[in-house]
């Protein structure tokens, strides 16, 4: 089981390095097994290191909000590639992303679409326009949620959903 762990870790590492480059358009990242006091592979912690393109290697704590999100998405999808999961629910993961990064993020999600179904909660028009289906959740009657199916044109500038298409 020690071998399985190291094997999976190396698999995830490879995918992480590749996905990081796709999401960032360059740069490099790695997953590192910390030295453990017992020298036991099953005891050591796991470190993430990453260097965005054009930047010097420096402490992970100095990363920006958007860089943190993209790094974590790369890691998450790397785990999916090593162990496909049939569905994935992402609740407002694009909150910190600028629109250029949202585009790269959705492009990468598309690479996984054949094996994974994505449900993405978002306020971003960009993300909405790149999705296949839009589902609206509204609270017309106070305190009571209902769902409506939505077309992109129905989502108005202020995020309200026009009720003409209630299903």
């Amino acid at each position: 089981s020690r071998d399985i762990f190291v094997q999976t870790l190396n698999l995830v590492r490879g995918h992480f390095q590749e996905l990081y480059r796709s999401l960032f358009g360059g740069g490099e990242a790695d997953i590192i097994m910390e030295e453990s006091e017992t020298d036991d592979v099953l005891e050591c912690g796991i470190e993430i290191v990453a260097r965005p393109p054009g930047k010097q290697p420096r402490s992970m704590s100095l990363l920006s909000g958007g860089e943190r999100t993209m790094t974590c998405v790369a890691l998450l999808l790397a785990i999916f590639r090593s162990r496909p999961t049939p569905f994935c629910v992402l609740d407002e993961v694009d909150a910190a992303l600028d629109e250029a990064n949202i585009d790269r993020f959705v492009d990468v999600l598309r690479e996984f679409m054949s094996s994974t179904q994505f449900i993405v909660i978002t306020h971003s028009k960009r993300t909405m326009s790149c999705s296949d289906t839009l589902y609206g959740i509204t609270m017309q009657e106070s305190g009571i949620s209902k769902h409506v199916s939505v077309r992109f044109e129905d989502v108005s500038a202020d995020g309200q959903i026009r009720q003409s298409v209630q299903s």
Binding site: C44, L63, P86, F87, L90, A96, I119, T122, Y135, G143
Partner: protein
């Protein structure tokens, strides 16, 4: 893959509400406070979450619709997740697998697998078999996308072990 989710009396979904999930990327949208994250909570709950805190409550019965101006509180919350199992990904010999979880105000709970009463752990085990556990990485909650960077090296390792 997920086929559909039906909520009844779950949090702000006072009335029976059915959500069909197509393949591909589905964006769930709506105003602040409309109930989108409550849908995520419903998925976590029906898959067997045992932590009220993970569902933003303090008790498990906090998920029962607790009333509105026009509606009095519900007596129970029920969620059914329908899973397309034509590829037999789940260890159940059925084309479609329905998982139902119900809780009453009294705290009494019921679990159904394809309409047959089962235990919570049966549901948890079936989905653990495909790497979907409530602790893991197929559901990323609001505000938690950078959890992997926030956690300590040891915590991160536990997440990796679940994936291995």
């Amino acid at each position: 893959m997920l086929k559909a989710l039906e909520l009844n009396g779950f949090k702000s979904f006072a009335d029976r509400t059915r959500l069909e999930f197509p393949s591909g990327i589905t964006a769930v949208v709506g105003p602040n406070g409309s109930g989108k994250s409550n849908v995520v909570d419903a998925i976590k709950w029906v898959l067997g979450s045992q932590s009220a805190k993970a569902l933003r409550g303090s008790e498990m019965t906090d998920v029962i619709f607790s009333g509105s101006r026009s509606r009095k509180q519900a007596n129970a919350a029920e969620v059914t997740l329908s899973f397309d199992n034509s590829a037999r990904i789940l260890d159940v010999d059925d084309e479609v697998v329905h998982v139902t979880r119900r809780v009453l105000r009294s705290g009494e709970a019921e679990y159904l697998l394809n309409r047959e009463v089962c235990r919570l752990r049966d549901i948890r085990e079936i989905f653990a078999g495909i790497g979907v556990t409530t602790g893991a990485y197929s559901i990323i909650e609001q505000g938690k996308v950078d959890a992997l960077l926030q956690s300590s090296p040891k915590e991160r390792r536990l997440i990796f072990e679940e994936a291995a």
